[in-house]
């Protein structure tokens, strides 16, 4: 990089303090996210790791892990990279220091709120959107602060043209805002509780439009922007093909937004939406691999760096993982492959290949590059960084292979049917005990990943220790050729990228087209609904039980969606219909079956079975992995809030009579007394002791809900 010097120095410095802050936050929350992940992994291998504490059960820890990994670890990493690279690419300091710090502290406050509220069970039970409404509002505010700061920087930039990394940042900021707002449209029913305005199938479609694009626009586009900046920086050579990066950007942004329904294949979602999701997922192969090739071939002529430089090792391996994950993703989106892989650990393996390999390693590579620069010193030990790389890589491979093996095993066991047309493994728990050894391997993989990360923390600590005492702010340089942008013959796209607002609007249109076409028809629901198959909404006590089900995060292990697949129907009963979940706020179709589907569990067992099962699942299913929920027999049902909840439900269009709404609490109390009496009889017949105040404890509401699942609309 002999000619890497820019133009003359200007009387302005880059704000690297904010970059340092985001860097340190990335490291701190990385550790938290990984350790909570390890705890979750251990809980699946050996249930006593739930510690019989409601705050630490898997249903609450898993959302904490995913939110910490995505929004705390990856989020802070993105911000560090964006703040560092944008200032340099745009040749200006960030727009406003106060906004930068408001963004930083606001985001950390949100993380803290998440870390407290999720274990306490304040959850909307929509994946990666679990946080309750006050935090949703805070996220919106902080995101707007970030956007104003970023676009302000764009407007005051000295470099006319926007490098491709900047495009990816713009797309990220716009799309995440749209996704977050639409998926978080909810009506509060308490300080920390809300119901989404969407219900059932709409909620499912909006949620996975959001969920998939959280992957696309929080874990992919910003990281691609970072790739386009830091791979050239670390290797000292320009990106392989700038042309390819243009195609990569527009194709990716346009196509990604359509892919959400591949999370709902073979479900009650209308077939056309499933097919659309599948086809667009397959199309993603092209831009994703274009981007991967572009990243990898940047090293052409400098492949030796891969041997000698741990930073390049991390970055290029990350891009390779991007390639593998984006190959696997479309594959999993093919309906027939999905019928095998969906609800299994294969998906867990898939996301961790992406999260640990692509997001994790890209972040590590970027930070090893950044930290010595930010603290104006040298990395303490290249050797330790290399060690981190190998230990981490081994960890990821162990993780991925064990989860893929686990997923295939369980998926095939679910499908296995003998020549009489019966399930070969009718006992669901059999398909779980089979994979427990693999859960230990996965935990070992996670442990290795953490071990590597601890080495990094030590390395970073020693590096910062060796930093000179006085901080040195880097001066902004003027663009090398200020006239570059003004030469004649500026073609269409070149003008376009000079114009921030036009460019942003076009990016917005690219994502809006897919969003509208996909979601709009589903909002005109009447076309899909069979009026004769409509079901009764939940009774007040059932709804109270449902709120407990949602709060405990049961959806992380139990689906409520029997797919239109023979082996699903034989195992769990008739395929679920749109009508059955039409009033469900939030929908609880689920995405993973560590336990059986519950869509038709109602009436399958006596009340007593559920009572004992929730108290200790192993009393009834010896090999069960499920945590105990003994506190449900102690905690009281919140009858009082039911009237408010039902009035909200009614205003959202659930056909409750005014009578029901006005007396929701009394009706629930009566229902509870009836159910408790039935339960008491069952307990006495079995010769057990009756828990106190049964008619007022949460277990009764939960049993009412479980017993109603699949029972609505039965003739």
């Amino acid at each position: 990089m002999s000619e890497a010097t820019g133009g003359p120095l200007l009387n302005e410095t880059y704000d690297d303090k904010i970059v340092k802050a985001f860097t340190l936050a990335t490291l701190v929350f990385g550790l938290v996210a990984f350790i909570v992940g390890l705890l979750a992994a251990l809980q699946l291998a050996y249930w006593p790791f739930n510690f019989n504490l409601e705050w630490l059960t898997f249903g609450r820890i898993r959302p904490l892990h995913t939110n910490a990994a995505i929004f705390a670890f990856a989020g802070n990493a993105i911000f560090a990279g964006i703040y560092h690279s944008s200032q340099r690419l745009l040749k200006t300091r960030m727009f406003n220091d106060t906004l930068s710090w408001a963004h930083f502290w606001g985001w950390q406050a949100i993380i803290l709120a998440a870390a407290i509220s999720l274990p306490l069970g304040f959850s909307q039970s929509k994946e990666y959107a679990e946080l309750e409404w006050p935090i949703d509002i805070a996220i919106t505010v902080v995101w707007v602060i970030f956007a104003v700061n970023f676009f302000g920087t764009l407007i005051r930039r000295r470099e006319k043209h926007m490098y491709v990394a900047i495009w990816f940042y713009i797309a990220t900021i716009i799309t995440v805002a749209v996704l977050h707002i639409f998926n978080s449209l909810e009506v509060p029913v308490g300080m920390m509780q809300s119901y989404p305005v969407w219900a059932g199938i709409q909620d499912a479609l909006v949620q996975w439009w959001y969920g998939h694009n959280a992957v696309a626009f929080f874990l992919t586009t910003p990281f691609l922007g970072l790739m386009y900046y830091y791979v050239p920086k670390a290797s000292g050579r320009p990106i392989y093909s700038y042309r390819l990066s243009i195609i990569h950007f527009w194709a990716l942004v346009f196509i990604y937004i359509w892919a959400g329904p591949h999370h709902l294949l073979n479900t009650a979602l209308p077939d056309w939406a499933q097919t659309l999701g599948m086809v667009f997922s397959l199309m993603l192969w092209a831009p994703s691999w274009g981007g991967m090739i572009n990243g990898l071939l940047t090293l052409r002529g400098a492949w030796h760096l891969l041997r000698t430089d741990p930073i390049v090792k991390f970055l290029i391996t990350a891009v390779t993982f991007y390639g593998m994950s984006t190959f696997e993703g479309p594959l999993l989106s093919i309906k027939s492959v999905s019928s095998l892989a969906h609800y299994t650990d294969w998906i867990i393996g898939h996301v961790h290949g992406g999260a640990l390999g692509w997001n994790g390693f890209l972040t590590f590579g970027m930070l090893y590059f950044l930290i010595p620069k930010l603290w104006n010193t040298k990395l303490y030990s290249m050797k330790l960084a290399t060690t981190h790389f190998w230990i981490g890589l081994t960890g990821i491979l162990l993780y991925y292979i064990s989860m893929m093996a686990s997923g295939l095993t369980q998926g095939l066991m679910w499908q296995a049917i003998n020549d009489k047309g019966q399930l070969i493994y009718p006992d669901f728990v059999q398909t779980v005990t089979e994979i427990v050894p693999l859960y230990w391997v996965r935990a070992a993989g996670g442990l290795l990943f953490i071990a590597g990360f601890l080495i990094m923390l030590y390395n970073v600590y020693m590096t910062i220790q060796s930093a000179p005492a006085e901080e040195k702010a880097e001066a902004v340089t003027a663009p090398v050729h200020p006239k570059d942008g003004r030469h004649t013959g500026d073609g269409g796209h070149r003008k376009l990228e000079g114009m921030v607002i036009t460019f942003s609007i076009l990016s917005f249109l690219a994502i809006a087209v897919g969003s509208v076409i996909e979601i709009y028809p589903t909002l005109s629901l009447h076309k899909y609904i069979d009026k004769n198959a409509m079901v009764e909404p939940w009774t007040p006590l059932e709804q109270a039980g449902r709120d407990i089900y949602v709060k405990e995060g049961c959806y992380v292990c139990h689906s409520q969606m029997i797919r239109k697949l023979p082996f699903d129907v034989i195992r769990f009963g008739e395929a679920s219909t749109i009508e059955e979940s039409i009033y469900n706020r939030p929908f609880q179709w689920g995405s993973k079956r560590t336990g059986p589907d519950l869509a038709r569990v109602g009436g399958k067992y006596p009340h007593l079975w559920h009572l004992r099962h929730m108290n200790n699942p192993r009393d009834l299913v010896e090999a069960s992995l499920m945590p105990r929920y003994p506190w449900l027999e102690k905690k009281k049902i919140d009858f009082y809030s039911l009237r408010r909840k039902f009035s909200v439900m009614q205003s959202l269009g659930v056909p409750y009579g005014d009578e029901t709404v006005a007396n929701a609490d009394k009706i629930a109390e009566e229902e509870a007394i009836t159910l408790a009496a039935e339960l008491t009889k069952e307990i006495q017949a079995a010769g057990g002791s009756v828990p106190e105040n049964l008619e007022r404890t949460q277990i009764t509401a939960l049993i009412a809900y479980l017993q109603a699942l699949g029972q609505k609309g039965k003739k």
Binding site: M1, E3, A4, T5, G6, L9, S85, R88, L89, K91, E159, H161, Y163, V164, A165, Y228, Y229, P232, K233, G236, R237, P238, I239, Y242, R243, L244, I246, I247, W250, A251, F254, P270, D271, W272, Q274, T275, K373, E474, A475, T477, V480, H481, D484, G489, G491, G492, H493, R494, V513, I517, P521, K527, Y528
Partner: protein
């Protein structure tokens, strides 16, 4: 299967229109990206990260 997949989707003309529109847009981008006229500019753009700070590296 195709019939079944499309039975509830009542915007058939929209999909034809969309396909043509998307194809044209895509071809437009390919043309722009691979137009020889733009090559020199792209090469400059590609060097931006390398020109973007003032420290001199070894």
């Amino acid at each position: 299967m195709k019939q079944e997949a499309l039975s509830a989707f009542q915007y058939g003309d929209l999909s034809s229109f969309a396909m043509i529109l998307f194809m044209l847009t895509f071809i437009g981008f390919i043309y722009f990206a691979y137009n020889k006229h733009n090559k020199k500019f792209f090469d400059q753009m590609a060097r931006m990260p390398l020109n973007s700070d003032n420290e001199v590296e070894s």
